[in-house]
């Protein structure tokens, strides 16, 4: 069995062993407790010229990765919390995402920006965000949100080997999830579609990242109540091919989107809109709904925090409401 965290480490090892143009740059890489068990030993195994720890300069580090990528490198940039990647938004959104479309010369920016979602633990408002929807708004970026150990490994590899700029958001709440992994295969990131992780008849639950694990837990609980829920994991949230989602909702007639971000202009709303605009009203048996964070910044206090994050029980109550 391989955990999600170990799968990320395995992806790094695979890439560094098999692709000489790959290197890793970011903060904390020579003291990798910053990133859980996902980078243990890489600096000693591959050397500090290839696993590059940096000054406290998110923007310059990210920009340097963009420049290296334009000149033939395949950098992985590590932002141990997505909150800090906000400091580098110009390089990701204005530069990397637009390079192909600004110049039209066929050159993308093959850099992968790994921005870790690191919630809970009383870390408070600036250490706990899930800002994936920002990146999903931007043409030119490809955005990966792995929910499973297999995707954590194989989509990281696919993202690094993509010729486009990629934002990869792994979630520390997923790190202990484990499964048997087959040998690595190099996938084409552009071909990755949402995947049904569970088949059901009564409702379609659509989620991404850790929310997919919540959805699976809630679906299992619902099953005990006689409600059969399918769970679709988006996997790649930009660009998204919604066809598998639309097909499934057409079958179940009900839709619940679960997302770890806020509702306003977020992924859950995008799921609802993208499905609803493809269906006839009569194809829906209930109003689609979404479960997201409350519209507030994350608190630090433990009791407040416990109420703040969606739980499997909350998702279950949403399932009951939609199906009833």
């Amino acid at each position: 069995m391989t955990t999600y965290a170990a799968a990320i480490l395995e992806a790094h090892t695979y890439l560094l062993d098999n692709h000489a143009d790959v290197f890793v740059i970011g903060q904390g890489l020579w003291s990798p407790w910053y990133v859980g068990a996902t980078m243990d030993g890489l600096d000693t195994k591959y050397g500090q010229d290839r696993i590059i720890d940096t000054p406290v300069s998110e923007q310059a580090t990210t920009g340097a990765a963009v420049g290296a990528a334009l000149m033939g490198g395949r950098p992985i940039v590590v932002h141990p919390r997505v909150d800090f990647a906000v400091l580098a938004m110009d390089q990701m959104v204005n530069q990397a995402a637009k390079w192909s479309g600004m110049f039209g010369d066929g050159h993308g920016v093959p850099a992968l920006f790994r921005t870790i979602i690191n919630r809970g633990g009383s870390q408070g408002a600036q250490h706990s965000q899930s800002l994936h929807s920002w990146f999903a708004h931007i043409p030119g970026l490809r955005v990966i949100m792995p929910a499973t150990a297999a995707d954590a490994r194989d989509l990281l590899i696919a993202g690094v080997l993509s010729n486009d700029p990629v934002v990869y958001l792994d979630d520390r709440w997923c790190y202990e999830a484990e499964e048997e992994l087959p040998p690595v295969t190099e996938l084409d990131l552009a071909s990755i579609k949402p995947a049904a992780l569970r088949d059901g008849e009564d409702i379609t639950i659509v989620a991404n990242g850790f929310s997919t694990q919540l959805a699976l837990q809630a679906a299992k609980l619902a099953d005990e109540e006689g409600i059969s829920a399918s769970v679709i994991d988006l996997r790649v949230i930009n660009p998204i091919d919604f066809t598998p989602v639309i097909d499934d909702v057409r079958r179940t007639g009900r839709l619940l989107a679960v997302d770890g971000g806020w509702a306003s202009c977020g992924m859950a709303g995008e799921v609802l809109a993208s499905v609803v605009e493809e269906l006839q009203p009569k194809e829906l048996m209930a109003s689609p709904t979404r479960r997201t964070l409350p519209f507030a910044s994350a608190p630090s206090g433990q009791s407040l925090e416990a109420d703040y994050y969606p739980s499997a029980e909350m998702v279950l109550s949403d399932i009951r409401r939609v199906v009833s």
Binding site: G67, L70, Q91, G101, M102, P139
Partner: protein, 343 residues
Amino acid sequence: MPEGRSLPLSNSDYFDPDWAFTDVDTTGLESTLVRDWYEKMVIVRKTEQKIAALVETGEAICPCHLAIGQEAVPVGLSHLLTPSDAVFGAHRSHAHFLALGGSIHQLFAEILGKSSGCSHGLGGSMHLTDRSIGFIGSVPIVGATIPIATGAGLQAKREGKGNVAVSYFGDGATEEGVFHESLNLSSVHDLPVVYVCENNLYSSHMYITQRQPELSTTRYAKAHGIDSAIVDGNDVAAVSKAAHELIDQARQTGRPGYLEAVTYRWLGHVGHRSDVDVGVKRTGDLEKWRKRDPIARLASTLEVSVTDEINDSVATAVDSALDLARLDPSPEGDLVQNTVYAR
């Protein structure tokens, strides 16, 4: 001198519009190099004058930031580079592109939004590229290409072939945080990047002492442990000499360098006019700076017959390039959707 804070003692007279500037010293230089510098500067000047005319008539719509008066900086530097080096510019980069040998026709076509443009009509004046000459790209977010050039230096270091990266920016960009982050990064990681600050004393309408406590920006290089030089940016030979030392050092030792070329833009921040630019009134200074014209100063070292011939041939080439660009087709409509992701 425009109003603002009282001037500190500068480390150079270069900033003083009343400075009695010196002759361009071409002693010991190959005559073909000097002739080539002159021709390149005239190409930049005449092409930009034509672009100004296109802006004035409305034929060019996209924002055009012209570098008339600043030609000596990229022309003095570009002959030291090869297409394997990586050069990055900013919003005012026609001169950077042309000095490296970029096509006048492709530049006009880009500004007119034609498919034959250097960026296929997607970019306009502010997004130029031509990898065949080592000009990787220019963008108008101030300071944004400074870390990107730094990363090109990182990749050059990783490849170990002695290539360098060049980052052009203005004095305004040194007020961006990422400029300082980038200098620090290249210094601690020994990256072969030459930072070229074209200090033209203005950021948009703001004179430098309204924005910074000193006129020269070389103090930032010193703060980050990077070797620097300051030169009269309107003296092509002086630019070349200083750039040569810094580029050679970057190639041989991998250390970054910082070149500040003091110059002056004759036109406003954007567009074709010199007399009105978001409140700038600087007529007296401009007249003094026009006497420091980098082209006229180099012309004085050449035979009149030589400069006349170059002036005529460049004028013809610029006219033909524009005629050609005007006839070129617009891009196909699906180009926008087809270039969101890499091919």
